[in-house]
Every structure is written in structure tokens, then in C-alpha cells.
Assembly symmetry: C5
Homo-oligomer: 354 residues x 5
Amino acid sequence: MGRKRSKRQQKAGLPPGSAVYVGQPREGGMQIRAFAYDAKGVVEHEHPEPADVRALVAPNRVVWLDADGVHDAELVSELCELFGVHSLALEDILNTATRPKLDLFEGDIVLVAADMVRVCDDDIVSEHVSIVLGPGFVLSFQEGRSGDLFDPLRSRIRAGNGRVRAMGPDYLAHALLDAIVDGYFGVVERMEEGIDRAEAEAIDERTTEFPKRIYGLKSELTNLRQSVVPLREVLARLLKGESRLIGRGVHPYLRDLSDHVMQVLDMVDSGRERLNGVLELHLAVQSHRMNDVMRVLTVVSTVFIPMSWLAGVYGMNFDDMPELHLRFGYFGAMGVMVGMAGGMLAWFRYRKWL
Amino acid sequence: MGRKRSKRQQKAGLPPGSAVYVGQPREGGMQIRAFAYDAKGVVEHEHPEPADVRALVAPNRVVWLDADGVHDAELVSELCELFGVHSLALEDILNTATRPKLDLFEGDIVLVAADMVRVCDDDIVSEHVSIVLGPGFVLSFQEGRSGDLFDPLRSRIRAGNGRVRAMGPDYLAHALLDAIVDGYFGVVERMEEGIDRAEAEAIDERTTEFPKRIYGLKSELTNLRQSVVPLREVLARLLKGESRLIGRGVHPYLRDLSDHVMQVLDMVDSGRERLNGVLELHLAVQSHRMNDVMRVLTVVSTVFIPMSWLAGVYGMNFDDMPELHLRFGYFGAMGVMVGMAGGMLAWFRYRKWL
Amino acid sequence: MGRKRSKRQQKAGLPPGSAVYVGQPREGGMQIRAFAYDAKGVVEHEHPEPADVRALVAPNRVVWLDADGVHDAELVSELCELFGVHSLALEDILNTATRPKLDLFEGDIVLVAADMVRVCDDDIVSEHVSIVLGPGFVLSFQEGRSGDLFDPLRSRIRAGNGRVRAMGPDYLAHALLDAIVDGYFGVVERMEEGIDRAEAEAIDERTTEFPKRIYGLKSELTNLRQSVVPLREVLARLLKGESRLIGRGVHPYLRDLSDHVMQVLDMVDSGRERLNGVLELHLAVQSHRMNDVMRVLTVVSTVFIPMSWLAGVYGMNFDDMPELHLRFGYFGAMGVMVGMAGGMLAWFRYRKWL
Amino acid sequence: MGRKRSKRQQKAGLPPGSAVYVGQPREGGMQIRAFAYDAKGVVEHEHPEPADVRALVAPNRVVWLDADGVHDAELVSELCELFGVHSLALEDILNTATRPKLDLFEGDIVLVAADMVRVCDDDIVSEHVSIVLGPGFVLSFQEGRSGDLFDPLRSRIRAGNGRVRAMGPDYLAHALLDAIVDGYFGVVERMEEGIDRAEAEAIDERTTEFPKRIYGLKSELTNLRQSVVPLREVLARLLKGESRLIGRGVHPYLRDLSDHVMQVLDMVDSGRERLNGVLELHLAVQSHRMNDVMRVLTVVSTVFIPMSWLAGVYGMNFDDMPELHLRFGYFGAMGVMVGMAGGMLAWFRYRKWL
Amino acid sequence: MGRKRSKRQQKAGLPPGSAVYVGQPREGGMQIRAFAYDAKGVVEHEHPEPADVRALVAPNRVVWLDADGVHDAELVSELCELFGVHSLALEDILNTATRPKLDLFEGDIVLVAADMVRVCDDDIVSEHVSIVLGPGFVLSFQEGRSGDLFDPLRSRIRAGNGRVRAMGPDYLAHALLDAIVDGYFGVVERMEEGIDRAEAEAIDERTTEFPKRIYGLKSELTNLRQSVVPLREVLARLLKGESRLIGRGVHPYLRDLSDHVMQVLDMVDSGRERLNGVLELHLAVQSHRMNDVMRVLTVVSTVFIPMSWLAGVYGMNFDDMPELHLRFGYFGAMGVMVGMAGGMLAWFRYRKWL
């Protein structure tokens, strides 16, 4: 998971609301697609003119402007101006380091910023998504580096199955958030598999790679948590009815979504707790092993060191060492050594070291 | 305790409210049983037709549809439709990974999802239970892998003892939750026995199995906690009167149940704290033991290593080593060695290492 | 402190409100005593008939039924029925594992469950106490294994000193709780003495008994905390005026009691913090000591091992070892050894290991 | 900082509100001084009769009874009775173990209990202070072991500078608390100096005194925190307007005082955090050092032990050891030894142990 | 980051509201600059007379008195008096150790105290800033040791770009806070770079410098956190509408600022968590390494020590040692040694130490 570094610093000194793109430089233009649908039909435009999209807005029809990439600050500014989006909201859309949040502006405009985190080619990718909900329209902006989670939703709109075509822009905004939250499940399940693996190996693994892996998994969970926690608050505020654009009919769906967010958080928190437990277990096992190693060293050393000393003594070359000339001196010395060793071993057994 | 893995991932991209079974694949059909009772009598149907059950609903009578297994998504959908259950509730019933929660829907329908955790053949088994409370009826769905905790309640209904026959569907829903919470006590008491055992062995146990066991017990407590904590909130919301179906007469029983849930949580929390304390104690004792081992090694090594060196010196073969030819050279050397050892031991005693 | 094990398990499957004694089996009957008093006089009955006690209740008079032991479920049921106590309250009285709590029932009946923890023969004893406050009467039930804390209160009632005779049953209930909380101070002060002792010995103590003692003290504090924390909530709810039986005149006394409970909690919490600090200190000192031991071992070993090797070299029996025949070979070899030792020691000094 | 031990135990069994002195026994009588002042003038009495003080109370005049020592329970009782102070307040004044708190009684009497903690002769001294605010008067009682923090305030009253003479008894009560809180700054700044010192020495200090010092500082901070935390609540309740005696004009001063209390708490909390960090740092450095020591021991041992063995082999006295008689046997053996040592060292270098 | 030491102690005993400078002594006078602007134009005065500044205040015009340095207590007092600032606010302005906070005074005066923390010449510098918002004017006081963060704002006022000239003093106060919060981003991003570096080196770094660096980074984060946390509360209170001077038009900007503060806090908190993880990782790796070292020592020692003993035995000089005269005694002894070594190694392999 590439940690997203805020480079707000580059904006230091600019007045608030400045339309400056903050994020990784990207090549190519933005991909814009517009949907206009009601229960009866759907119209889809690839790369439409901004003004044409604005003109599509009509009562009982939902317009979804689906933008991929926010690095063309001018184009985004133009779109925001057309749809009456406040300059502070524009700033948040362009700043890919914005924290997930909900903002309400005049004209009933609602801005939801979120992080789209998903597994992509065995890697965890996070990108910034802004959803603007206004009367009759939804604008969605994503950093859009490589594919996205909204494709099933687009298909549902085109095919007209599911509830989305029958309902308003509030349901569409919900559906976008729902797709994002669905992505979290994929990420968190992949992390859980990693934790399962780490758990299974905590006892036998001995390389320094192991704590590193634990640390990596913990960092990923922390990052995901930071994306998910503010979303819980966003949904709570929407459910409190802060925006007039959210109809009562969408509330059960938002509550359901809120439950999913809670479930992701539960999974993240229990994952963190498990990781702490796994590391604790790993270190406790390490300490046991160290103890075992030390015990063997101590037993062998303390048994043989005195014996070696005695052998050394009788290897001395003094002229006058009476024991050397005794009849059974050698066997006596060996007997003393065996006795010392046996005494030591008995004492170790008594101390329960053997 | 088989950790329940959410496999929501298989649903990614589907619209919310999709009726898809999420859980472990099971063979065989669902077991359905219906009770209809009032204070005077009780009728019980095995494997009834869904429509027949619906027809049983009448004023002053309680209908309990008691389903074992939720893997037949079609049958569950049909039942839910007959009883006017919202499609989001249906989705939660079919998803065995749903977090315990309370949901209110139109038509006064209340959905309570909970985890039935119990000791079964010396193993801890967790399965998902959904309780739907509506006007005049209760639907209960369990994953139902092997027996369940509701049998005493069924007997009470059949026999007409206890309060259950005299009261409404709200009391029945309470009684189902009460049976589930009773199961928690069995689980938590079994865990406490495990902790008692671990506590008794924390000092003497030295294998790496010990931290593993502590870790296992901790994981079980964490899992149980995740099932119990949301239930506390569910009961608090029921007691706040969020649902019109819960009569004032049931409130003392719900309060009592809430106290039991608090007691389980207390026991879980104190169990976790004790486990932390036990591991801490175990590691502190390990560290003491390591110190002891090191001390013995150090004392023996530092006493004998200089003595061995001296023996080595007088074992050298130089032509001219005057001491070798002294009258009491050998005894002098032995005396020096004993002096060195004595000095070392005195110093160790002074340092309080002996 | 004998940990109290809930054996609710034996009740699994019974309907809520069942009158079953849950606790340690006891021999002999219950001890019942009844007081009826007003400002002018007091009547005391030993082992009265339940119905006679009920008949004593009258306006402007306080009846206190003071029961020692709750193992006679039938007798307790009869008493509760006479005084109009709800079956759920009866269940809590009989269940000695009930968590401290406050319950309000119809007929203005208030149930307060608490744990009476006290020092008894140098041991900490905990028993369950239930206090039922009704219009004009107070029932108190204790497990009553060996003496109790209510004796000074009984004397005050008999002698008519203090405020108790002049006030109503609410003050009596307060006085019972006050006696229980007074007992906590004794327990917590005894624990503090234990912590003081442990603090003083944290540096010098080296046996594995020490962490065990810390663990024991911590467990005792945790157990006491679990008895005291719910009591704080009980008092807060009484002070919020949840019960009509608690007159305004008793509020200052309840507030005072609440302050005492807070003070006990403060003492418990600071005790826990101190214990953590003591263990931390103990382990840090252990680690220092280990370092010292290792340093000595390392210094002695690294000084003598190379010297021993050199001695070994010149003890080899090769035919042709020119140094052996040098004029001052022996002294040269000794000089080299001393030089090696000196160099090593200088390096150790440079590394600040000496 | 002499830890204050509650000896409430000695009061066990007494009814609440008993006028018994709880604290360290003291010799000599109490020191009483009375001030009566308004904007125009001030009268001061040393050792006045209690009744005379009471008679000083008049509209638009502030009477401050400033008592040093509370060990004369009778005198304090008499004073409290004269000023209409509730017996529960009296009990708290006499009990030097009372937790800091605010209590409101009938007759608009306010009791504030606090701990006066200050640096005194390089030692931290804590004593109990009670401030009773009533209509037109303030009573202050301190344990008063050695000097106090109120002297500057007395001077200001006598000299008539500052705001105190122009304002009412509520301002006087504030000024007393302000003096107490000012004392906390001195204490906490002294502790910070101790932490600064410990921080500077955490790397190089190796004696077991170091963790002991950390533990001592931590205990002092914990003790101070226990005195300050309840005071925050006391001020919050005064600012909520719970007492009618606190005029609006004093609110800015109380808010200011509350900010100071918050600042002390911030300092205490950051001190605790720093101490934890210092100990962590110290232990991490210890562990590094241990590693270094072990590495040296291992390198020296593993290099020389095989060499010594080889020397020992060629020191054996077998009749037939062909190598001994080789032409360059000795030099060959030395070469093998050097090779073994070189190989070992190369391997250590490869493992990055050197 | 030079830790700011409160030296409130020097004020102990003074009445609240005393105008005394508390901070590091500074040379030279204060730098004062005044701006008076409206949408049409701007007037700027360097070193104006205080009274002249006061005279600039007029309806529909914003006066900003921008003071650099607060060490001239007399001048600050004079300014505050002219603008009707309460003496308690004056005290907070002069005390550079004041905690960040919001204070409301009569006359709609708002005092915001904050810490301006920024990177300056590769060092982190913190200075105290006070912002006084009154009707038609803003006073800002900074310790002003070396340059500041307000320059871009001054330029925007002079040039008339951005929104600042078109709006009132409330927007100006917001813009000052915005500049301060922008500075936090620079600091926190610099810290994150330090953490990134530490993370990359946690495995390979072995000097005692490493934990010291971690400790240093942690202290910096703690210090920054203490500056930022109270600011969150300040903004929350402004948004709750506590001051009448804050117009509705400024609310979106304050909300935006509040989001930025939350983002800084998120970054600080995740930085702390990462640092804990990095230290944990570092220590776990250390422990692994220690284990490795011990294992090598143990293997080499236990393999060679018995072999050395055997060599010592056959180096003894007893007269009668039959093995010495055997035909293949030497090779037999060598064989026994190799066998012992092989057996040890096999056992180590079996224990998985090799």
C-alpha cells in the first residue's frame, strides 16, 4: 500500500479555496463519461463537453458525471463552476491528500471525500474519490490510476437491473459509496489471510523477516483504518438528516452501508489485536528458545569446565606431583571427574534444568 | 472456535439487498418447524408450507417459525416475502457473516442478528442466528449445524410452563435471546477454567506450548467479545423503546437480559486481563530463570577459567621454567588456584550473586 | 480472595425469574432477625415468622428484615412474595454471582445488589449482599458465611445514637451501603500495605515469588474493582432520583457515599498503576543485573581464553618448537600473555565495560 | 512526597458525619486568624474567639477565617456550627484523606476540598485544604505543617493592592484556589527538571538507581495528578453555575484558573509520557549494549575455543602421534590455527557481527 | 524543537491579570505594523503610535495591528487598554507559556492563543501567537524570534488578491490561524520523512543512536500534538457560534480549517503509532539477532568444550595411562572426539538450532 504523502506543503501560503492539483503527476487527459437516466431509459456520453452535461440536468432524471483523473485542474474547475460547487469543495477534489469527510455547502451541495482502497494485481492500491451530490446530479472524481470499482454499477445502470434506475441521485451517491466499501472487504480479507499465515508461522519462523512482515501488516491495517474511520462519521451525519437531498427512502440503504463500515472496522480492529497477539507469541517463543539455548550452554560448560581444569592440573610439569605416580592415579582422576560431572548433573536435575 | 471468515467478497458488485447465501456450503434441505400458541394451547407443524404458516397469524396468538439452516436462499426469500420482511433484512439473514445488530424496518418489523456461541463436544461453536419480530409472529433462522440452544424453550412452549405461553411475540423474541446469552455463560465459564489452569501452570510450565495456549485463549475471548458487545447495544436500543412491538411488560426481562450480557462482558474482560497478567507473570518468571542460569554459568566459568589457565601455564614445555623445580611448586600452584577461586567466590558473594 | 465463580450454567434452560439458589452449598438454616423502629423505640425479633414481619410494617415506622444466608430458596421466595418483590429480583437475590446493580420494579421496590468485601482473619472475603428497599421496609440478604459489617449499625439502631432512628428506610438502605463501602477501605488499605512492601523489595528481591506476588495483588485489585465500579453507577442513578423512595434528605448522605466510592476507586486505580510500575522497575533492575553478570563473564572469558590458548600452544609436544628452547622463552610467553590481558582490559575500559 | 495514607479504617462503623480528626497526630493548638475587609479597609484578628468572628459578618464586607491545623476537632466543630456548616462538610474538613471535591449544602454553603502540594526545602509536601464559602464569609482550613502558599494573598489583602479588596467572598475563594494552583506549577516544574536530567542520562547511566529514579518521578507525577484531576471537575461545576454564591464577575477568573489547571495537567501528562519514553529508551539502549557484550564474548570464544582444542590435541601424550615428528609440524599446526581463526572472523564479518 | 519551559513560577504570588512578560529575554524593541483595509484599498503603517492605530478603526474597514515581540510589557499593556482588552487576556498575551485556547471577554473581544510551529533552517521552532479579534480590528502578537508565516498573507492584503480584502476581521483572524496550521503541515511532513528513514533503517541499524532518534521523533510529535489538540477545540467552539463576531460567511472557511487540523492530528497520531511499531520492530530484530549470536556461541562451545576436555585428559602426566600406549590410541582418541562432535551436531540439528 503506497503510503499517500500529503504534499500540502506546496500550497503553503496560498489562500484557502485555491484550485491547485495536489497529487502525483499524471500524463494524459482526464476520462469523462456522463450518464443521464430515469426509470425508463439511460443516455451515456463519452468525453462530453462540460456545458452539455450541465444541460442534461432535468427534474426526475439523474445525471452522473463520472470523471477519471483530477489532474486537469482547469477542467475540474470549469465543471465545478457549472454545477455551482463551492471553491472550498473544488480545492478538496483537487487535493488527493484530503481526509475522508462530509461537507455541506449552500445550494444543497454535498461533498463526500473518500479513499477507494482495493486489491489490484496482488497489491493494495488507494486512491482519492470525491462524490458531489447536488439537486438532480452526482459528480464523481477519482484519481483513477488503474481501473476502478464502479464498473458493476455502470453495468447495472446500463442494464437497468437492481434499484438504481428507479431511484434518485441520493441512491446513486449511496451506490458509489457502497462500491467503495465493498472494496474494503476485499482488502481486509486479504489482510486476514496474511495474518492467518503469520499466526501459523509465529512459532517456527525465526528469521528477522517475521517481525518485519508483522510490522508491514500492521501498517496496512492502520492505513485502512484511517480511510474507514472518518467514513463512519460521514454516514452517521448523513443519517442524522443533515442534508435535505438524502430522501427517507435511502435511509435503510445508508444504515446497511453503515453496518458494513462497522463490520470492516471490527475486522480491522480484531486484525490489529491478532497481530499484537501474534508478535507477543512470537517473542515469548523466542524467549523460551533463548532460555533453552542458554540452559544447554550452561549445563555443558559447567559440567566440562571443572573437568578440564582437573585434566589441566595433572598435565602440569612440576617435578614433584605425588598423585602422578600413584598406582591407580589415572583412574582415580577419571573417577573424580566423573563424580564432579555426576554431582553437577544431579544438581541441575534438582534445579529442574534438565 | 472456528473463526468465521466473512466471504462478502463473493458478493462484491451485487446491488445491496441481493438474496445470496453467504456461508459454508451445506447439504440437505432446511428444517422448518412452526409453533402457534396462546395461553390456552399450542399447535406445532413440522415442515409446513410457508403460506400455511403465514395463515396461522391471528390476534392474541403467537406464531413462531423456527428455521434450521439458511442455505436455501429461495425458501428464505419466499418466507420473508410472505411476512413482509424488507430485502435488506433478507440479505442479512442469508449472510452468516453479518455482525450482531438491530434493524428496524417499515411495518414494525424488527431484525435482530446475533451469534449463537456454545460449547459443543468440548469445542466452541459459533453460528449466526437471525430473529425477525413482527406483529404477531417471530421468525428465527439459524445456521443450525448441530443441535441448538432453543430446545428447552420449545419444551416450555409445548408444556406451557414458565411465562412464555402467557405473553406475546416480544417475550418470545426475548426468550430466544435469553437462550443465546445463557449459552455465552457456558462458553465463558469453560474459558475461565482454561485460564485457571494456565494461571496454575504459569510458573512451572516451560515449553513453547504455554504462550501458544495463552494466545489461543485470548483469541477465543476476543471472538466471544465481538459477538457480545454489539448485543449490548441491541438491548439498549430495544429498552429505549425504538420498536413499538416491545411492550412495557417485557422491559424488566430485557433489563435482566441486559444485566446478563454485562456480566458476560465483565467476565470476558476480566478474563483478558487475567490472561495478560498470566503471560506477564510467565515471562517475568522466565526472565528470573534466565538470570539464574546465567549466574551459575558465570560463576562456574569465572572461577575455573583462570584456574585452567594457570594449569595450562605449568603444562607448558619451556626448557627453563624455574617454578617447576621448586620444592613445593605443585602445592604452591594449587594454593594459588584455590586462592583465586576463593577470591572470586568472595567477590561474588559480595555482589550477592551467590 | 476466593474468586467467585458464576455457576449460572446450572440454570441454563430455565425460564428467567426461576427461584433457584446459585452459590456454594451451605449447611444449617438461614438466620433471620427483624427490627421495627421509629424515633421513639425499637423492637427486635429473632427468627420471626415471615408473616409476622410483614405485619410490622406501618406508617412512620421502619422495618428491617436482616437475613443471613440465602440458601433456603423456599424461605426467601416466601419472604419476597409477602413483601411484593418481583420474581426477577428474587432470582438475583438467590444468585450469589449477580453483578452489583440497581433494579427498579413496580410498587416502588428497589433492589440493590452489592458485594461485601472485607478483611477477615487476614484473608479477603467477598460475599453477595442484596438490599431491597420498599415503602416502609428494608430487606437485606447476605450470603453470611462468617460475621458481617452490619453489627455497628445494629448497635446504633438498638442504642438510638446517630441519625438512623430518626430517619426512614431510605436512610437505612444508605447506612447498609455505607457499611459495605467502609469495608472496602479496610481491604484497599491492606492491599496498599502489600504494595508498599512489594515496592520496598522490588530492587533486592530475586526469587520467582516476587512476580507471583505482584500478580496476586493485581488480581485482588481487579476483583475489588469489579465489585466497586458498578456501585458507582448504582449511586449515580439513585442520586438522579430514579426511585421515589429516596427522599431529598438522604441525598447529601448518598453524595458523601458516592465520594467514598470514588475514593476507593482512586485508591484501587493508583494501586494498579503502582503495581505496574513496581513490576516494570523489578524487570528493569533484573535486566541491569543480567547485563552486569554478562559483562563479568565476558570480561573474564575474553581475557583468559586467549591466554589459555597460548599456554596450550606451548604445552604441545612437537619435536621442533624453537621458542621452547629460548633463554627467556617462558618469561617471554608470560609477558605476551600479560600484554594480551592488558590490551583486552584497556579495550574494555575504553568501551566503558569496566 | 510522603504518600498520604487514608486511615479511614479507624472510623469504620461510625455513622456518617462523625466529627473525628483523621490524619497525622500534631502537637500544639490550631492557629486561627480572621480578616474582615471591604474596599475601604481591613481588620485582622489573631486567635479570635469563634463567636467574635461570626459577629464580624456583615453585608458588603468579607470575613475570612484562616485556620492553620484541623487537629482540634472540637474547635473546628464549634466554628462549623457557628457558620451553619453541615456535619458532612465538617467530617470532610477533619478528614485529611478526603479527595479534592466540591460539595453544595443548604444555606448556599459551598465546600471545596483540595490538596496543597508544593516544594518545601527541596521536598514535595502535600497537605489537605478545605475552603468553605458562605454568604459573606470564607473559612479556610489547612493541615498547616510548615508555612503555606497564602502569604502573598494575605499581604495583598492587608495592602489593598490587586482586585481582592474590591470584590466579594467568591473572589477570595478563587484567590485561595489560585494560590494552590500556583503551587502546582512549582512542583511540576521541579519534576520536569528531574525528567530533563533523567533524559540526559538515559543513555549512559547503567546503575540500578536509574530505573528506581524513573519510578520515583512517575509516582510523584501520579500523586500530583490525583490531586489536580478532581480540581478540574470542581472548577467545571462552579463555572456551570451550580452555586448561587459565585457571581458572574468572578467567572473570567475561574475560567483563567481552569486554564491553569488544564496546563498543569498537560504538563503532568506530557511528563508521564516522557518518563515512559525515557525508560523505553534506557531499556532499548541496555538491550543494545547486552547485544554488544554478547557479540564480543561469542567472537572471542568461538575464535579461540577451537584453537585451544587443537593445542590440547597436540599436547596429548600418546606414544604414536605422527604429526609431532614432522619437520614443520609446529608451524603447520600454528598455520591451521590461524586459518581456523581467519575463517571464523571472515564468517563473522559476513554475518555483520564485526 | 526547543521545549518551551513554563516559567510561571516567577509569577507565583502575583494576583491574576498581572501584566508581566513571561518568556525568554529578548533585546531590541517590538516591531509593530498596522494595516487598515477595505475592498477598495489598503493603508500600511510601520511603527505607528498606538493611539493612531486605534483611530484607524472605522465601520466597513478592517484594522490589523501586527506586532512582532511581546517582551515590551508596557507597550502591549498600552495597546490592550486602547482596544479595550481585558487584563486577563493581556496576561495571556504576555505569557509565552500559555496553552492554546479561546477566551471570550466583554465587549465581544475574542482571544485566541496558539503555537506557531514551523521548520526554520532545518530546525523546528515554536513560538507563542496571540490573536485578539474585536469589532473592526484584529491584534496579533507573536514572540517573533525569526521571520514568520504571515508574510504571504501580508502580500495578499497589499496586492488585494484572494478573498481577504473583501471580507471582515473574522476572515482575517481565520487567515492568521490558517497560516499557522499550514505551518504544521510542513513540520509534520518533515517528521514523516524522519520516520520513513527510521523505518528503512530499523532492521539494519544497531547503534544506540537508533532508539535515541526514535525517542527524539516521538518527543517532537508529542510537542506538536500538544500545540494542535487545543486548537481543535478552539475551532469547534468558534463554529458553535460562541462569539458574535464570527459571521456565517466565515463558517465554511473555519470548517475547512478544522478539517486541516484534524488531518494534522491524524498524521501526528499515525506517526506516533508508526514510531511505536518501528521501535517494536527494531527490538524484535535485536532479540532475533541476540538469539542467533547465542546459538552460535552455544553450538561452538558445546561442540569443542568436551573435545578439549578429552584432549586435556590425554595430556595428563600420570605414570600409568594404558590408552597412551595403544597402537592406534591417538587415532582412537581423535575418532572419539569426532564422534562426540558429530553427535552434538546431530542433536543440534534435531533441535533445529542449525
